[in-house]
Amino acid sequence: MALAAYPRNAYEKPMIISWLANPERFSKVFAPVRPYLAAATAILFVWGLYLCFASPEDYQQGDTVRIMYIHVPAAWMGLFTYLVMGVSSFFGLIFRHALADAAAKAAAPIGAVFTALALVTGSLWGKPMWGTWWEWDGRMTSVLVLFLFYIGYMALHASIEDEMRAAKSTAILALIGLVNLPIIKFSVDWWNTLHQGASVFRADGPTVAPAMLWPLLIMALAYHLLFIWLWLVRIDSEILSRKYNGLRARISFREGGA
């Protein structure tokens, strides 16, 4: 089947979001991209992991600085994935895009895994450096709340059988959870926390030495590509599943009516 013509509105601006909101079209456009994304992700992970162990140890943290190369990207991805989930939920709730709920639902388990990894790796770094596995400070507690939002979102989606109702309820929950993102980001500035402040995204530039910044950035890029690839795979899974359920419902209706 040929792809529908790419539409343009009255002002000749491309309406890419509307055009891609068709699930069938979305699958056709991104299916050929996925293998390249998978390959690029694997290459970046190999390169990033090499740099993680080729970089020098920190004069204060010693070898535990290598934990930062996977802890920080996991934490960034926990936040970024929730933002993606929130934006998708907004489109689903307000504009009723067919694909929006599938996109939000597909992102949730990925975000939950990234956030769980941020918590676990942070704890494993905290024990030798701070002398404690956990501290109820602003940053750590707000990231734990983020993880609970992911779990709540997935539990709510699984508990409501009707897809439309599930989409609406979970979208509202996801939008409420967005409030937590600036709290996480600025928790280290608002409260006196054990967690250190920002050292990469700062107005005056990163304070991390280039030898340690590169492994961090390459790993962050690898985590981003992994997210995009897995997200596309899971959205397509959701589309396939809904198509299957739709066909089954039509068969049941036909058999019931016969």
């Binding site: 010693g62 535990t64 990894l117 790796t121 024990k127 795979v233 396939l240 066909l247």
Partner: protein, 58 residues
């Protein structure tokens, strides 16, 4: 490249191990679920197509 983490070996390798298991696990689960769903849909579509062809023949 230095793989000797000294006294921090448990913490460093623990982090990399947990991350590898979680990310590889998530990837495998996502890809397997995608393949299963594609196969289920294809089988159902083929069954429906066969039924439709039978009706046309009849």
């Amino acid at each position: 490249m230095d793989l000797d983490m000294g006294k921090y070996a448990f913490y460093v390798w623990g982090c990399y191990g947990v991350s590898a298991v979680a990310l590889i696990g998530l990837t495998v689960l996502s890809v397997v679920a995608h393949r299963d769903r594609a196969a289920k849909l294809k089988a159902l579509q083929e069954t429906l197509a066969a039924e439709k062809a039978q009706k046309v023949d009849a």
